[in-house]
Symmetry: D2
């Protein structure tokens, strides 16, 4: 697999969500269909990283993973079908070619695709350097791209195994509870330490979303994001701080539709091509997150759709 390509977020307040992603998160609208708006960060090479879809409840519609080649897509799909995974080919979606869509073990829809439309430069003056796709200085956070998605799973182990065996993702970190069960797994298709994360859903539900994360360049931009959230009325759930695992710097808040969003930067790259998975104990985790930041109960319990 090459990388996480896009996430479809569902929102019961599509207009408010759109305003938040454009005016506060700084994303650009690139396309609209009947129920969806397609949005991108300044430097995404594909047409979009976020598809925002009107729906009765918040949550994740699907996530898209791009393969490393056309044949890699064929092989993955063949293997999935051989393993009894039911799925179907989707044609005609905006921005990319045929995609094989299926439901992963814990109830999340995943698409695999190879063909993609590459983004061209935003027009205007002055001309941008050849490798720039967007123009800086608009309103909101300087979001560069979709970074990762964190799904909730009643049982993390089968979700992790599926991602590892059938999607070919690397398992860089894992959280093991005192009873030996796995409560979180950090997976990636490349050198970034996380692209797909599974966390235990304490409610036992399936198919829920914990959060979608967007990348900015610096810790200072995450702080600026917090200032902007506060002044623009986007609720902050966890103010800027540093994760223990991966040392990434973060900010969590809620977009108007109810989905949790993260602004993140700074995670170490994994250059080792064959690193041993780090197994974190619950005791280590209890010792505190990064600088000792206290996470509110909501962070451990809330997901979308909201069960309450």
């Amino acid at each position: 697999m090459a990388h996480l390509g896009h996430v479809e977020l569902l929102t019961p307040r599509p207009e408010d969500s759109l305003r938040c992603f454009v005016d506060v998160l700084g994303l650009r609208e690139v396309h609209r269909s009947a129920d969806s708006v397609y949005l991108r960060g300044e430097s995404e090479y594909e047409r979009y990283g976020l598809k925002l879809t009107a729906a009765p409840c918040a949550g994740i519609g699907h996530l898209g993973l791009r393969t490393t080649a056309a044949r890699a897509l064929e092989r993955r799909v063949a293997a999935l079908q051989q393993a009894g995974v039911a799925g179907a080919w989707i044609e005609g979606e905006f921005g990319h070619g045929p995609a094989f869509r299926f439901t992963a073990p814990q109830g999340h829809a995943i698409e695999l695709y190879w063909e993609t439309e590459r983004q061209t430069q935003e027009p205007g003056e002055p001309p941008l350097p050849r490798d720039r796709l967007g123009r800086r200085g608009g309103p909101g956070v300087a979001t560069r791209r979709l970074d990762h998605v964190n799904l909730l799973a009643a049982d993390v182990s089968p979700a992790r195994d599926f991602a590892w065996r059938h999607l070919g993702l690397s398992l860089y970190d894992e959280l093991r509870e005192d009873d030996g069960s796995t409560s979180a797994a950090w997976l990636s298709a490349g050198q970034r330490p996380l692209e797909l994360v599974y966390t235990r859903d304490r409610s036992g539900s399936s198919g829920r979303l914990h959060h979608v994360a967007f990348w900015v360049d610096t810790r200072e931009e995450v702080l600026r994001a917090a200032d902007i959230f506060i002044d623009r009325g986007v609720p902050i759930e966890v103010p800027p701080a540093q994760h223990t695992i991966g040392r990434s710097f973060f900010l969590y808040g809620f977009e108007p539709g109810g989905n949790r969003i993260e602004v993140t930067t700074g995670a170490d790259l994994v250059l080792d091509p064959d690193p041993p998975t780090r197994i974190w104990t619950a005791a280590e985790r209890r010792r505190g997150i990064g600088w000792g930041t206290v996470f509110p109960p909501s962070w451990h319990d809330y997901g979308t759709p909201d069960n309450d």
Copy 2:
């Protein structure tokens, strides 16, 4: 004197200049009169720091200094008049009370005033904390306030002496040439190391402007300003770097009217109430500016109005 209150910039391209100050520098428009637009940074407690006035040539219209009290204004004006300085009271200007306007030795118009109108909060949701005047996250640079103004003077010494004796400013730094003459003087009414700077005008002209500087909070914001300048077509004259004197971090560019503008941060406060003036030699200056940044010839020669 309390502090530099505002600067009036003249521009032959008023609409373009306004767009630059609003969309790129991030200032807010607060008022319009026939030929002028009044603009403020996010946290200025007065109504504006910049008055932008349509005029045939670029340059500085005047600068305004606020006194520490009503009686201080009276005393200053009495002393100026006693010293033979011709001036006149201005009434009815937007945003502040009666001002005594006169022309300082090297041809720049200066206003002294005491009464001022205080800015109230920008409306909107959510309510801002009691001490915030603006809302963050709009387009452009996060400019907090006018910082200082740098004037050109054919002869720096009398300008410096006037500012020191008649305006009561402190002389924190001075640049002495090999022939013993003073080629630059850094003056301030308060703890900031510079509010009014005089630099030798090599062309021998009088009344010209070198630059007006705007304050941002962090060096990272100055870097972001450079990114925004580049992508929005504002010419950069000197990319972000650090001054030797005062260690401030800067970026110089030109607004469409032709006036040089600086984005700056980080200068050390002067806590010492009676510091000896630092006399810098031309040799020290030649040793390089800050990190060794090379300033282009324009920086030493160009001012507004442009003599060419």
Copy 3:
């Protein structure tokens, strides 16, 4: 009054405290006497901002305020004596001239002084610019100077009034409880929004310290300080976040002697020479601190010496 000049901290673990201030906070040792070590930040113009003294209990020994002139010192002392404040002249202290020491209403020792010894440059190669006193790049945080001191007072009002009337400090912000009593007061001698803060001591004790704060240049340096605290074993009480009042960025921790220390930056300057005091309500305060950061109970209860 010109500014807060120095603070004397008492520590029952002088060697460990010294190591923390030098290796983690990045201060320089400039002098030693029998029980005390004198320390300075990179850019303090006086010889020291912190005097660290071995003592049975943690707490504040005294704080020193520099006056604006020799005659100002005489006048202040005369006024204090006339008001019945008992005090005595201290001679021969390292780094400054004669000081008048007295005990302020809520039990804190304060010194007023005018004469001071100015710091000269750290020797070494290459030569530093004329206005630099220290060399950057040593271990620990890049602390520039002492910033402010926060005292605990069983009754804030008389302490505030004394500081305002007898020390000539400006009262920029005040926190008013629902019963109309004042629970915190932010005072300053200059344009910085706070140099001396009084907060209500819920234990009813007198003479205790809440914290001493040190200034760094950027929010990024505060984040770096948190990283360094964590890796060097300095307990973090409140991870980096933003205050509501004054918008300063902070980190709180404990030095080995038990005193709370703050690393801070970014507070807005007060340019208005005569600003109305901002009266904050308890309701406003309850609405959350800055980005909604949760302060632990210790922050509201703990001071030095520790009553437990």
Copy 4:
């Protein structure tokens, strides 16, 4: 190929170079042999990223590339031998297993290896999180790891083709002169946009080094590095600024042995698994580098060993 693993720098002033890399660049010494010292950045998973070797002249000794697997190493070596590349197996080097060393077309020694020794945590208190290898807060720049190496080649094209065909690196960017010749090529084994760069050697020499680059986390840390360079006497060649190609933020200086070093951060990751190579024209390059930073002639002419 997995990634660039280490670079061996030659220095005629080994003690001074070592002091610079440790005290200014913030690297840690991990091992010594007769003529060499092995150094690492805080978060390198292998034992070292820099081998510093005493030699009559400055320059590059060799660079090491780690393969993605044991069999990948075998296949690469077999292919090289089949292509007529003379080389030899090196055994017993500190920190990694058997390496196949050969000379690439333009005269640079390259090693390929698979087996490597993983770095364990620095000891001490408090215990570090499981994924941290070093402790922050020591002197100098917070260097995280070796980032890339830039070699000089009389003829860039054959060097580029060799790296692409025989080492399996991706060619992300290329600079084409007006005469159609290639004057620079940016290659990488992974998602970072550059790990190995070839630039035309105008002197026509072979085997020379342009620079070695070290990674820090933030632009602010690059600025801090410039401050530290200045205060510690490390000559700055190009002050902090932004590259056009890749948008990375940089600082160039010279270590005492004469080798050019870069401190860098911020380059965009290349997520596209099959991106078209960007061909930059000399005209685009002439338009200016990033923010318009002027590079001194030395940057275009100087390499190590120095031909003069």
